[in-house]
Each structure stands twice: as C-alpha cells, then as structure tokens.
C-alpha cells in the first residue's frame, strides 16, 4: 500500500557494490559543500528575508520528506506542526519574554508533542486513510487555532520581537538573523540525514518497502512509525519556529491545509526520498511564489497544474530524475537504499 519505491529507487547498476550506510559520494559531497558555501555568501547578493524564507521552507520540506520519502507515510497534516510551532514560538517570545533560542526550543518541543498526539491516532490506519486522518486532525488543530485566545484568531500574533541570541547577538540585524537561520537549517537537515542513514533509518525503509516482513522480523512497526512521525514533526516545527522569528508574526495561513499541500508539492517536485530534492523543491516553489506575487497570474492555478504534471509524468522529481539519468550514474551519485 505505502510502497513508494518505484520513484525513489532509480535503476541502479546491479554490479555496483553498495556502500555502507552514511557514506557520501564525492560528487554529492561537492554539491553539498558548494551549496553551503553559496548559502554563506548569498545574503550579500540577494534579499536576506527572501533567503530566510527559502531556508525555512526547504527545511520544512526536508522534515516532511523524512516521513514520506523514508517511511512511506504521506501526511496531509504537516501544516499543524509548522504553523503550530510558529504560534508557540511567537507566543513564548512575545508574551513570556523568552530569548529566541528558548523560543525556538518551545516551538520544536510543542510540535513534537503535537506530533505524538496526532501520530498516535493516525498510525492506526495506513496508506490513503493515513493521509485523510492527518488532514482531518490538522484541520481540527486549525479550528483550535482559530478559536483559542492566545493565537488572536484572524489577526494572528503580530510584532514578535526577534530578541538577542544567547543574550548578546541582536537578531534585529537581518544578517545575524540569516546566519542563525542558516545554522539551524544545516543542523536540521543534518539531523534528518543522520536519522535516515542510521540503523533506525534502515528499519524505517524496511517498513516502507515491506511492512509485513518488518513485522515478521520482530520490529514493532507502530513504534517506529510513531517515532519517525514525531521526529518529522519536530523538524517541521523547527522550520515553523524560525519562520515566526524571521517574519515576526504567526498566522492562520501556516496551519491551514493549503500549507500541507504546498510542502507535499515541494517534496514531490524536488524528488521524494532524496536528500537534496526537498531542498531544491522548496527553493523552487518559494521562488516561484515570490515571482508570481508581483504578477497577476494566480498562484493556485499554477500550483495545481504543476502538481498534476508531476504526478503524471515526473514522479521522481528533479533530483530523482538526475539520479536516474546517465549523468547521475556516471558521477556515482546513484541513489541508494
């Protein structure tokens, strides 16, 4: 049911000896180093707030991919963690006066707890039911946010102070803020990568490939799924917390179901089950939205069309296609599982 392997497993040459889990191909390493280097100098070339938004969504998509790409669970409710964490961080920083690092921590822990509750209910069904249940639960959280007093309903929490990191680095300076977001982004993506390439991650993949066999091997599949769900929720929460600090507000937009759809699109477009895919997909979608915001082309129509085209003819996503192509194989960055 939840087997997504047809897109995340491009035809690898059978002769190639699989490397040990966690190893990175030289070409892949080069891309990562170049990417991080580029991100370090990017704020001098591009508008920093735009870049921070890009990083937040790329991290969000990576967190989502942890669940869909490596555990085979399609969550249609990740907006709850993203937007929920944004609310938690905004409230704790603005009303309780916490410093930003603790505010982010509150957001991440809050998202993880939310993930634990939602996950415990949702993992009782699989496949399409799982998607519908997560969607319904996140919609429930949306209505909670609409009515709870601390979220201020339609207005959202506005004027969130960025504060001083560790007490002395002013985040009001957008360059400082950018590097803070960048560090958290790298940490978040690294966490995701470590999880995927650990024995734990291998069990997740085995669940994705063949759940019945994983059960027969003695793994308590439900617990692993729940753990993956909570980790994914926590990382999505990290992205949401950072977004609340960057834009200095938290609103209903971030908990609405459309946001859950957006993160699916980012992951699908970039490549489900790849490390770089969701990052690239997130960057593309955010850039597209930014670009379209000034034109009068409605974003929803285009988003819907891209969705349909991706599903029909482009299921591996951009990075998945590169991996599967001759170039990818020649560079030795064939995707492994």
């Amino acid at each position: 049911m939840t087997d997504l392997s047809d897109l995340s497993r491009p035809a690898a040459k059978p002769a190639r000896v699989p490397r040990a889990g966690g190893a990175v191909a030289p070409a892949q390493l080069a891309v990562i180093v170049a990417g991080v280097g580029l991100l370090c100098i990017a704020p001098f070339l591009l508008y920093p707030v735009f870049l921070m938004k890009l990083l937040c969504f790329a991290l969000f998509a990576s967190a989502f991919n942890l669940l869909l790409g490596y555990t085979g669970l399609l969550s249609f409710g990740h907006a709850a963690f993203f937007g929920g964490a944004a609310y938690f961080t905004a409230h704790s920083v603005k009303v309780w006066g916490l410093p930003p690092e603790l505010g982010v921590l509150v957001g991440v822990v809050g998202a993880a707890v939310l993930g634990l509750i939602m996950g415990a209910v949702a993992i009782r069904r699989q496949g399409i039911y799982f998607a519908m249940i997560t969607l319904a639960l996140s919609q429930m959280f949306f209505f909670f946010c609409l009515q709870a007093p601390f979220t201020h309903g339609e207005d959202g929490i506005q004027g969130v102070p960025r504060g001083h990191l560790l007490g002395f680095i002013s985040l009001e300076n957008s360059l400082n803020m950018y590097y803070f977001v960048l560090v958290m982004f790298v940490v978040g993506v690294f966490c995701g990568w470590r999880i995927v390439n650990s024995p734990f991650g291998n069990i997740l993949k085995s669940i994705r490939e063949n759940e019945a066999r994983a059960i027969s091997l003695g793994y308590s599949v439900q617990r692993y799924k729940l753990a993956a769900f909570v980790m994914s929720a926590a990382l999505a929460g990290l992205a949401g917390s950072l977004k609340a600090l960057v834009f200095q507000f938290a609103t209903l937009t971030d908990v609405a179901w459309q946001m859950s759809g957006e993160v699916i699109l980012m992951t699908l477009l970039g490549g489900i089950g790849t490390l770089l895919g969701p990052i690239i997909g997130g960057g593309l979608v955010v850039s597209l939205q930014n670009y379209l915001a000034t034109s009068d082309v409605p974003v929803n129509i285009l988003t819907g069309a891209i969705f349909m085209v991706c599903v029909l003819v482009f299921r591996r996503g951009i990075v998945g296609e590169i991996y599967a192509s001759r170039i990818g194989r020649a560079l030795g960055i064939t995707h492994r599982h």
């Binding site: 429930m140 759809g261 409605p298 929803n300 988003t303 599903v311």
Partner: protein, 295 residues
Amino acid sequence: MIMIFGIPVQALLGQLLIGLINGSFYAILSLGLAIIFGLLRVINFAHGAQYMLGAFVGYLMLQHLGIGYWPALILVPLVVGLSGAVVERFALRRLYDLDHLYGLLFTFGLALLIEGTFRYFFGASGQPYATPAALSGGNNLGFMYLPNYRGWVVVISFIVCIAVWALIEKTKLGAYLRAATENPKLVQAFGVNVPLLLTLTYAIGAGLAGFAGVLAAPIYQVSPLMGSNLIIVVFAVVVVGGMGSIMGAIVTGYLLGLMEGLTKVFYPEASNIVIFVIMAIVLLIRPAGLFGKEA
C-alpha cells in the same frame, strides 16, 4: 416554553434540522467518495471542487442561458459527470497501477486548479442563487418554522442516496461494478468492458458531487471556496464510516450531521471540530471504521 437539559426545544429541533441538512450533504458526498474509492481505489480530493463546480455551473446556466433550477438539477450532474469522465479517461487512468497515494495527489492538484480558476474569475465572495419559486416560503410545524426548500433538500437527497444504493446493490450494472471491485481481471475476462466501467464510476461520483452543489446553491452562497473546507469534513466522515459499504457511507453522513447539530446546541465552540473528535475516538476504538470490513 418546553426545555430539555436546560435547552429550549425549539433551539434543539432547529439545530437538529440544520444538522440533518448538513448531514444530507455529507451523505451524498461521502457516498460519491465511497463509490469512486470502491472501484478505482482513488481518494477523490477533487470531490469538493466538483461540488463547487456543480453550484457554479448551475449559477452560470441561470445567469447566461436562462436555465432555471429544475433543469439544472438534471443538467448540472451530467456536465460535471462528463468533465469527470474526461479527467478519468485522460489522466487518472494512467495512475491505477501506481501507489494509491498518487491518485490522491493528482486529484488534489486538480482541486487546486479548479478552485484557483474560479477564484480568479469570480473572486472569493459568494454569489446568491435564488430559491426556486415552487419551494419558496415555509411551513410552521408548531414547534419550529421549516423553510420549504430545506425540507426539499432533506427529502430529495435521501431519495437520491437510496436510488444510488439500489443501483449498486440491486441492478445488473451494479453487480458488474461490485464484481469489478472484487476482481477486475476476471470480470474483464468475462467480456465486461472494465475500463468503461471505471470511467462511468468516476463520472457517477463526480455527478453526485455536482448534484449536491446545485442543491446547496440556494442555501449556501455559490463561492469558489465552498467545497474546500467541506471536503475535509467529508473525509473524516468517510474515515468514521469506513469505505467498506455504500450504506455505511450514507448512514454515517446523516449521523455525523446530526451530531454536529447537537453540539451546536450544547457547546457551540466545539461544533467545528466535533466530527474530527468523533473520528479520533472511532479510530482508537475501532480502527477499521464503523462499517469497515478490513482490519
């Protein structure tokens, strides 16, 4: 004034009636979803958009072609059903051999596309659709005032639900449908045109959504956003009922509509989320859903 649990009977019955009307829409929509899922194994995320499409096609027919409510009630489901058939024939069909999630994702994209298009041309605000003259006015039932149109909605949607149930459970065509659900290859080997059956099924499901849209037009305003929030509630209804049985989808739809109405009386703040809460409870106690077959 008569009181039950400290609530005036009039308020209670009034909300129960609203619940029954909402439940009628839940029942028709979840019925359509269940039929499509039963045969195509696709969760039709575009169901809400097709419901909205139905209301808009009815509205546009009235505005530009002068076609009134009664012909629209027949024509709109045909138009929406035909559009569904086109979608199935040229896109959805390619996804059957893949993971079922792709069907969900494709129809999600379709829903965004349809809703985005209507929003672009008509804005987010609602357009009024007049109640047909024959059903204007209302009756005083003694304990409450019942607008005729709402009574009509309850009656006709019940009839349609039963008719569709009978079509699937009691006719030859329905027997083919059910057989194809069990084992499509075998049914094809017997000479039944299964691909055509699949197209027809999706068209029927979409047509039902379109029909619900026309029914809803005079009650709720015709707006591009009318379907998107409703569909999530209907998903919850489907999860509660389990998609194993057609009758299950219908009964659950009415039941949850009434529960929602009751909640509005006793604890209005929770009325938006009560269906989701019930869904969570049902999942914890009986993961397969109330009428579900598989574990």
